[in-house]
């Protein structure tokens, strides 16, 4: 009998130490039946890409509240592609100004969740993104 569970990497890149949101999302995704690998704080883009590869995740969720998303996201996406992980979907959660969202989407980011996002919406979007 084949079983498949959606595997998600939740990572906190850079020096941002506020992890409550990341943990709330991790728990919500767990309660939705997904397997969530949480990396902890102060991850470099290289560490995140390495973890994504080893864990063969379907999705990477980046928690960024420091405003450094325009520097970190492109770098991480580049590394994922370089490792051959073309199909991994990347989501960003945290503090991202609306005007940056189109640029991030153009880079290939599947979705951006701000502080008001509901866990139901996150779960729904993650499921849809992974299926496609």
């Amino acid at each position: 009998m084949t079983e498949h569970r959606i595997r998600v990497l939740i990572a906190k890149p850079g020096l941002d130490g506020h992890d409550r949101g990341a943990k709330v999302v991790a728990r919500a995704l767990r309660d939705a039946g997904m397997e969530v690998i949480y990396t902890g704080l102060r991850q470099t883009p290289e560490m995140i890409a390495e973890a994504a590869l080893q864990e063969d995740v379907d999705m990477v969720g980046l928690s960024i509240l420091s405003g450094a998303h325009m520097a970190l996201a492109p770098r991480i996406m580049e590394l994922l592609k370089a490792n051959g992980q073309m199909d991994v979907k990347v989501f960003i959660g945290g503090i991202v100004p609306d005007e940056d969202v189109p640029q991030l989407k153009a880079l290939g980011v599947a979705g951006v969740f701000g502080p008001g996002a509901s866990t139901e919406d996150i779960i729904k979007e993650v499921r849809e993104a992974v299926k496609s």
């Binding site: 084949t2 079983e3 767990r30 309660d31 939705a32 949480y38 470099t44 560490m47 973890a51 063969d56």
Partner: protein
Amino acid sequence: MIQTASILEGNRLALARLLTQVENNSTEGRAALAELFPHTGKAHLIGVTGAPGTGKSSLVNQLALHYRKQDNKRVAIVAVDPSSPFTGGAVLGDRVRMRDLSGDAGVFIRSMATRGSLGGLAQTTAGMVQVFDAAGFDIVMIETVGAGQSEVDVARLAHTTLVVEAPGMGDDIQAIKAGILEIADILVINKADRPGIENTEKALRSMLELAHPTKHVFKHHGIYMNDAQGLKDNESDASFWIPPIQKTVSIDGQGIAELAEHIARHAERLRVSGCWASRERTRLGSEMEALLQEALMNQFREKISAQKYNRIMSQVFERSLSPWEAVKRLTENNNGRTK
């Protein structure tokens, strides 16, 4: 199969993807395992178990660092965490403690959820370990869920099983759960810088003396005997092993080199005594049994009609049929012969 060749060559993406196939118990995964099986049997499998909060992940982190720095051995780590019995999901957080290992191509860390298994490992953990073995990793560490009582799976899978304790985890006797001493090849007291370390050590030693024969209890006319077999002098009996107790402080690496020494001695003892081979046989036997059970259940489910099953189940619910009778009827084949 192209996949297995690239894994044997060291392609990490192929390795990661195959691990997923094996974890999901797919046909592709099983076929690849069959191809890779002849390449297994070389790695030293080290199990790490113990109650939550004893520092297992930090310990694994330090041990892996040691193996990398001292011996340049390739290390794979399988870290198992529990799945929710209600939602089926899991948060796998063991990697958080292993940041020192990042960026090292000689290390591969994979997190797994138990997905309903109860013995501390997932059903497919043995298969995952085989993939790492075939891929050429010298050491495969398997870190289990670690509630501290039912983790016998890991003792059957690993060559050397470490049981990790920590001082101050409530009553010392409570901390030493039934069954733990039976599966431990090495007892580790982590967080040895905490108060209560002497009591924990004393309690463990006295438990060990009760569990294993020692010279002063069994010395009889100068001959050391341990059980009905009447073995002589335990120093020369290669298959006799009393679990050593090693204190460690995993956050700074104290005691790790000594622990690695114990592990090496244990591996040597297993090889010399022939126990390595017999453990392999037992382990493969258990794996075969588990696979057989699963295969037979699946075959049964395919053959039995839902109607018949539901009919019989209703009778059990009505209490007009006992579960034993029900199973007898379900396993009767069409000719009416019971199996």
